[in-house]
Amino acid sequence: MEAFFCIGAILLVLVLILFSYLLNTARKRVNETNSIGKKQLLPIYISLADRPASIIQGMNKLRYDVNKTEKAGDKWRWVPLLIFFAGVVLMLVDGLLFLFGYSSFVFIGGGVALWIAAIITARGLRKSDSYDFSRRYNGTRDILHTLRDDLKPGSTYLGHLDLTGPLLPTKVARTAKDAQNRETEYFRDEWLALKAKLYDGNILRVSGIQKSKKRKSYWKRSRISGKMKSKPEKFKGTEHDLKVRIVPNPEVYKIAKTSAEFKQGLNIGKFTISQLSTEGGMIAFVANSPFEEVEHENVLQILKSAYTLLQRKAA
């Protein structure tokens, strides 16, 4: 009898897990978070080597295609749950027969088959789910759109937009251990690399780099109970670097030594200019931001300010 109850309890738990899985499929997907509580975003990697219009059109199409797939799946989200209930109804037929004293497993078998079909459908529908697009996707598109007319005719943008995530193992730049032998990982995510030959002959290089720090999980002996306890990994913070190099066309521009609108230590939007060099016929600077997200307006604003260092030569 105990074995009967035990098996019954296990089956009940399995059915509840299945029901919960199908119910979650049926409900509109809530925002999922990763291990450090950050919202999961769609992992996209785009190589840029095309004209602005083609890139912007391609990015819009990608967004449309992802939404189309998701919407096509959304229409049928309740179907797996309905199939599950159809399985339950089928099984109840055997239950009814059992109440009348007959023992039959035909409908139970059919019900189980329908449940398997429900799982397959749910998995198929879940595959059509997508995480939200990162704000950087639209921001980058807007930067490319804004700069489109400044590009040398016939030339292309070059670079990449890497939105696969800042905390991937492949993005660990280095690791360090503290006095307690706890390991901290330093991530370097160059999510945007952009090179463009501009209309005025200048060459613009922009890199958006997110630097993050995460302490890995570790085991620690409790001072009170003496037990070994696992401490979870801890996100220690993030910051943004915007690395820009502008090589001006020497026939058109000369580089000014100073500018009130662009100097080291100046705050522009969310950024602070931390390094600035105008040596070697090139403007190179690093703008630093303690924020996790920087808007595309800030990037454009800082580029615009950097241009104040260029003085047009007399014709």
Partner: protein, 520 residues
């Protein structure tokens, strides 16, 4: 083939599979809704029946119910009224025609006032034919119709056998081991009746009419011994069930073992049941102490297991009854927890109403012209009418279920096919003009130089450096491929690692990603 076509092909294959399985279930008769109901006709209080039989004992045309427990012998008529009842000490009974009136009499071996005695009950009249017998506590009694004439064979709790003639005169004695006699049965050798006897210590012997041993053997401690002539060739088969699970079929002729199997639990009962309705083969059912049930068929001397099942407790009794009138008997089994189950010829089980105490005996027969199943438990004896019910056409329900599942599979296929494939999330927007490709190439080389610079400055180390380099070199290889596709001349600068597939710069002699040595 397009994704949609593949989806529907897979769906079609699945539908075929589902319908094939449904067809097998439908047309093999595996799917059926059948039940057996027991309606109680009458019940009488009678505890712990050891022996019970529906048989004509009173000289009328009707059968009566004979029943015996550890202190009493009773005969009920078809309506449950007591026709005869007599108390005994330690009685053991058997049925046999002692007085030659072609009707069975009850032979009672018991401890009387003058020692161990034998009574014969005929038409409700008791006659003591032997007293003060030199034998121990009654264990078994049997009436055997030897060619030289009938004999009453008594077995005691120390393995002693004593044969009496019908007048009660001792004829011969024999010692079968040293423990309680657990089986006395008539076994045929070349058509001649012999006595098969077995004791609890595992001794087994076949004796002739004079008490002479034809053959003997011994095995593990023995709970049950029965003899049947399964193939009606005049030579019986003797089946034994051991305390430790040994189930053995012997040839009564010479004691050779025809079949042996370890059941994994003590064998508590063996009965013949005509399970398949095929007269040329005989079937028997074995019950185990832990509830195991096995059905065997014997044909041409070959023993085959038909099916196995289980009850929840020790199988106390097995009986055969053709409940559904199809010519094959169903096995009705009772266990020590009070469960009564009907096993059909293919081993499917239906339960009858549970009893509150363990089942001791089950028998089938006609009482008052009706065919009844009589079930005795530790408290009562109950006479039941067993009814068989089935849902007509139920065997085709697997086809209906199969059609439902097939429809759902089609629906799922249609849904999945209607969802467009998820777009690739690694995208390359690439202009194919020569200038663009060259610019991209320059950019990639600058990026590679940047990564190298970062590594040298210690900003990027280890896996991150290799991962970034691998991606950039991959892009460089794509760029070279784009050059070739467009028909522009290009100096190839990358190679692929034959081991991991990673892109490397031409001239490298070792893969940076997997360590493979390169010969280029």
């Amino acid at each position: 083939m397009s994704r949609k076509v593949i989806t529907f092909v897979v769906a079609f294959v699945l539908i075929c599979l589902v319908m094939a399985v449904a067809g097998v279930f439908s047309f093999s008769g595996l799917a059926k809704a059948e039940k057996f109901d027991a309606n109680r006709v009458w019940s009488q209080s009678y505890n712990t029946a050891e022996s019970m039989k529906v048989i004509n004992l009173m000289g009328d045309d009707n059968d009566e119910l004979f029943i015996q427990n550890t202190e009493n012998v009773t005969i009920f008529d078809g309506s449950g009224s007591v026709l005869f009842s007599q108390n005994y000490q330690y009685p053991k009974t058997t049925l046999g025609d002692v007085n030659g009136d072609n009707r069975e009499d009850i032979v009672v071996f018991y401890l009387g006032d003058l020692g161990y005695s034998v009574d014969v009950i005929n038409n409700g009249q008791t006659q003591t034919i032997a007293q003060s017998l030199s034998i121990g506590l009654p264990a078994r009694v049997a009436v055997l119709r030897f060619s030289s004439g009938p004999q009453i064979v008594l077995g005691d709790s120390s393995g002693e056998l004593l044969s009496l003639n019908l007048s009660g005169q001792p004829l011969w004695t024999y010692s079968v081991g040293s423990e309680e006699i657990r089986g006395l049965d008539d076994a045929r050798i070349n058509g001649q009746i012999h006595l098969a006897a077995a004791s609890h210590d595992g001794s087994l012997v076949v004796l002739n009419q004079n008490g002479g041993s034809v053959w003997s053997t011994s095995q593990e401690s023995l709970r049950r011994m029965r003899a049947f002539d399964f193939n009606s060739d005049g030579n019986s088969e003797i089946l034994t069930g051991g305390e430790f699970g040994a189930f053995i079929a012997y040839s009564a002729t010479d004691g050779s073992q025809l079949y042996t199997q370890s059941m994994g639990q003590a064998v508590s009962e063996i009965r013949e049941v005509e399970l398949n309705g095929e007269p040329s083969s005989r079937e028997f059912v074995v019950g185990g102490k832990d509830g195991g049930v096995w059905a065997y068929s014997i044909q041409n001397g070959v023993v085959d297991q038909m099916w196995s099942g289980s009850l929840s407790d020790k199988v106390n009794e097995i009986s055969g009854i053709d409940v559904d009138g199809d010519g094959a008997e169903e096995a009705v089994l009772g266990d020590d927890s009070g469960v009564v189950a009907v096993f059909t010829g293919n081993g499917s089980r239906s339960n009858l109403e549970n009893h509150t105490t363990g089942i001791t005996r089950i028998d089938v027969g006609r009482l008052n012209g009706e065919r009844y199943v009589v079930i005795a438990d530790y408290n009562d004896v109950q006479v039941n009418k067993i009814e068989f019910n089935s849902i007509p056409g139920f065997q085709y329900t697997p086809l209906i279920v199969g059609v439902i599942i097939s429809a759902v599979i089609l629906l799922i296929a249609a849904i999945l096919a209607s969802i467009p494939q998820k777009p690739e999330l690694k995208v390359s927007f690439q202009d194919k003009s020569r200038e663009s490709l060259e610019a991209e190439r320059r950019m990639l080389k600058e990026s590679i130089a940047d990564v190298e610079r970062l590594r040298k400055s210690g900003e990027v180390t280890g896996d991150a450096y290799l991962a970034r380099l691998k991606r950039l070199r991959g892009d460089l290889a794509d760029n070279e491929a784009a050059f070739k596709v467009a028909g522009f001349p290009i100096k190839v600068e990358t190679i692929q690692c034959p081991n991991c597939g990673g892109t490397l710069e031409l001239g490298m002699d070792k893969c940076e990603y997997c360590g493979q040595v390169l010969l280029s």
